[in-house]
């Protein structure tokens, strides 16, 4: 600071203006150099080459242009300071420059992840759609399978009238509860029955010969009743419905094979040929009419 007094003194001595200008300039230079340091900074070229690496990485120039610009500025500032500043300031600027370069790297990586996220979002939406479609396809395939099962629920014309037979697979084992597929089928059957509103409908349950007769009668009745209930729920008047539990008394196949027993476990829905209150006693099975009649249960509740 004592240097500052010099120009004042010179001015006071009323020397030529030219001289004072020279002195002022010298003083200014002296002051400027007071915060300079000639120490050769070794880190600077390293940082410069680090920056060049980042500059040449087109992912970084694409993904983190702002951070790259900041890094360039920081390195330039360091280089400007490098040949004249004190070591501690150079160290400080080197620290900042290094961190700016690192920031550009990290930011570029983050941005790359962001791009991937956008891609993935699209992939995910597509996959969701695909999955939903395949789920729907599987569901419709399953529905198709059930429908084909339902066509096995065969209908045939007999002397007694139209008989719809529901196979055993539409019930759970030893249960009277209907499978959902059976309900769908029965909706259709109910629709058919309602086209003949004045005809009586007899729902007959049948079993194979395994198990006691009494158990079989009971099970067959419960199954027939379950079917009748669904029909009724689908608009078939309970006045027209009659439920019979016939047990093992009317096999349609031999009970000595698994396939035969499967055929025998069934519920038949008989849409009687003629209207009127009597049951179709003139049918092909008329021989057993009399004997089974006492086992016939009442209509559904």
């Amino acid at each position: 600071m004592s240097d500052e007094r010099k120009p004042t003194q010179d001015a006071a001595a009323k020397r030529g203006a030219k001289t004072s200008l020279v002195v002022i300039t010298l003083v200014t230079i002296a002051l400027l150099s007071s915060c300079a340091s000639p120490e050769p900074p070794r880190v600077v070229p390293d940082i410069r080459s680090d920056l060049e690496e980042v500059q040449n990485d087109d992912r970084i120039s694409r993904h983190a242009p702002v951070q790259l610009y900041e890094a360039e500025k920081a390195v330039e500032r360091l280089e400007r300071a490098a040949d004249r500043d004190q070591q501690d300031r150079i160290d400080h600027l080197a620290y900042l420059a290094r961190h700016q370069i690192e920031l550009a790297r990290v930011a570029a990586e983050t941005e790359a992840y962001q791009e991937r996220i956008e891609e993935l979002a699209q992939e995910r939406d597509e996959a969701r759609l695909e999955a939903a479609t395949s789920r729907a396809e599987r569901a419709s395939r399953r529905a198709e399978e059930l429908r084909s099962q339902l066509t096995e629920l065969d209908t045939r014309q007999t002397d007694r009238g139209l008989i719809v037979t529901m196979s055993d697979v539409l019930f759970a084992l030893d249960e009277a509860e209907l499978q959902p597929a059976a309900r769908d089928a029965l909706e259709q059957v109910a629709g058919l029955l309602q086209e003949y509103p004045d005809r009586k409908v007899i729902v007959e349950g049948h079993t194979d010969s395994l198990g006691s007769e009494q158990y079989n009668r009971e099970l067959s009745r419960r199954r027939a009743a379950a079917v009748a209930r669904v029909l009724e729920r689908n608009g078939v008047s309970s006045n027209r419905l009659e439920v019979r539990g016939l047990g093992e008394s009317r096999p349609i196949a031999p009970n000595d094979s698994k396939a035969g027993r499967l055929e025998n476990r069934r519920v038949e829905i008989v849409l009687q040929r003629t209207s009127g209150s009597g049951s179709g006693s003139r049918a092909g099975r008329s021989d057993s009419d009399g004997s089974t009649r006492p086992e016939v249960s009442a209509g559904p509740p």
Binding site: E4, P7, A11, K14, A17, S20, L21, I24, T25, V27, T28, L31, L32, S34, C35, D88, R89, H92, Y95, L96, H99, Q100, E102, L103, V106, A107, E109, T110, Y113, Q114, R116, I117, L120, A121, E123, R124, A127, R128, E130, A131, T133, S134, R135, R138
Partner: protein
Amino acid sequence: MAARHVSGIRLLLVGMVVWGVACASSPTPREEIAQARLAIDQAAQDDAERHAPGEMKKAREKLDRAQEMMRRERYTAARRLADEAKVDAQIAEAKATRQRAKSTVKSMEETVEMLKKEYTDE
């Protein structure tokens, strides 16, 4: 002569301003300290404490030291420490953000994988 004398003083003043700018020491680095604190707070909100604990620690320590230097009126040191604390915090935040993006990528990849499985395995 008097006019020339005045211009000489003016030149001296200009010289002092140049000196001041060259040494980059405007008196108190309050602004720098405030920025460093802001950067640390932002990084902390971004969960940087978990993803970049080292940088966060450095940033906080430097901010403390910057404030200490402020009190001792060593403004150049205070400014440098504050500037360094700021970039430390910025790095910590950038790392936390990167980590979050990375985790998001991972979980989304898993989701896509799962969905694809659903319609490829029948």
